[in-house]
Amino acid sequence: MATKLKSADIVIVGLGWTGGILAKELADTGLSIVVLERGAPRDTNPDFMYPIIHDELRYAQRHQLMQDVSRETLTFRNNANETALPMRQLGSFLPGEGVGGAGVHWNGVTWRWLPWDHEPLKLTLASYGRSVIPPDMQLQDWGVSYDELEHYYEQVRISLWGLGQGRQSARAEDRGRQRVRGTAPARISQPADDSDPRGALFEKAAKSLGYHPFPGPSANMSQPYVNPDGVAFGTCHYCGYCEGSAVR
């Protein structure tokens, strides 16, 4: 028998990045909100605690934080001549599940879109004219520009991954010069994480060739940080398990 529950003003389906941000923003409105999530509830403590989170069999091999395909999966094929078949176990890509969604296995790097990414049609026309666009190419703008979104990019960065230790050029011509839009304001900027000797080697080599390398944006904290919502982020321990496996 279906149980009829009290109606709510807003129902959000899925409590991942998108649903979570929506719920948080709407929570201030006074409207009643119900969020539906198919997976398990999770929190930093105890679900991501040391040392059990360093269990490569459970998480990297058996994908315990990811979608349970015995309950819901998808079919796929690699070209139109094949017959689509179900994905019977996770493999090449890993959809998330549960509270936090893909956020629980996020590696801490999300590049914001460049201005061109928002308006590929407009900016292609401005630079090269219509003749470079094939007639059957469905090139469209998204309807919002980088300038319109920049404030929100900043808000998300400060709230969710807070500190971007590195910097990312928003303007193509600024890439590599660190004169960037969207760089962390000085008051919340953290020293860059320079732990990776590969990065240091690459930086040295790139500079010697006359390029202007810069650290990529990363939400792996080099210092403790509390975001404007009061959520505390611990510092990165350089455990090496970001990508699931420390010996891969």
Partner: protein
């Protein structure tokens, strides 16, 4: 080989009564070898088997005959040598046994319903069998094929050199398995063998962190914030710690 495997796969589906329908259990229509495998007590049962003259482990999923084959398979895939320990001595057969006796063996996180089809290699595993059934049938197939082509001997009765040759044929898809594609069995076996060898010792393999010691991996420690500068470009030589060591 793909076509041959496809034919056999359809035979499997037919044999298991699952063509075009929901994957069933190995049932009354199963071919003879399946019945033979299922005729042995599945679980739980307890057997103390002996290897290398030592009192050995208690298998929960594998029958004694199956356990002997799995021990021989693991020993062939990862023999003890001057680089490091063998898979058997660090407990890989017990690891596989525990995995198959539990949720993994039942296919707890696998989609095992239809539609079924031959699929391309890129479409991955497409059998209707959870790992426990794949092993039970695959071991029976392997032994039947060995008996037929290797002078009446089951896999574990072969010499080490013959085991290697037989397993190479299985890996290459050249072994004629009656019910499951030989390569599907091999790839799951190899995957599980590596998992048991390298995973945390709490799962039964990698005993005493021996494999982590071999490769110089510190194990589950993963707390390097305070030492990363000190060891920059230097070898971090510490005793590996397992999750239980740290708990």
């Amino acid at each position: 080989m793909a076509d041959d495997e496809g034919v056999r796969r359809r035979d499997v589906l037919k044999g298991l009564g699952v063509t075009g329908a929901v994957a069933g259990l190995v049932a009354t229509t199963a071919p003879p070898a399946v019945q033979e495998a299922k005729a042995q007590p599945a679980a739980p049962h307890v057997h103390a088997v002996t290897r290398d003259g030592q009192a050995a482990d208690t298998f929960r999923f594998f029958t004694p005959l199956e356990a002997a084959v799995v021990v021989a398979l693991v020993d062939t895939l990862i023999p003890k040598d001057d680089v490091g320990p063998g898979g058997v001595e660090v407990g890989v057969p017990i690891f596989i046994d525990r995995e198959l006796a539990g949720a993994y063996g039942r296919g707890a996180r696998m989609y095992l319903d239809g539609p079924f089809g031959q699929g391309t290699p890129q479409q991955g595993y497409q059998l209707p069998l959870p790992p426990a059934d794949l092993y039970r049938i695959g071991i029976a197939d392997l032994n039947a094929w060995c008996v037929k082509t290797r002078g009446g001997k089951a896999f574990d009765q072969l010499s080490p050199a013959d085991r290697t040759a037989a397993l190479k044929a299985v890996e290459a898809g050249q072994a004629e398995f009656a019910q499951v594609p030989a390569r599907s069995f091999f790839s799951v076996l190899l995957q599980n063998t590596m998992e048991g060898y390298f995973a945390d010792p709490m799962y039964g393999g990698n005993r005493n962190n021996a494999v982590w010691k071999m490769i110089g991996f510190p194990g589950a420690i993963g707390m390097y914030g305070d030492v990363i500068e000190k060891y920059r470009n230097k070898r971090y030589d510490v005793e590996p710690k397992s999750i239980q060591d740290l708990s």
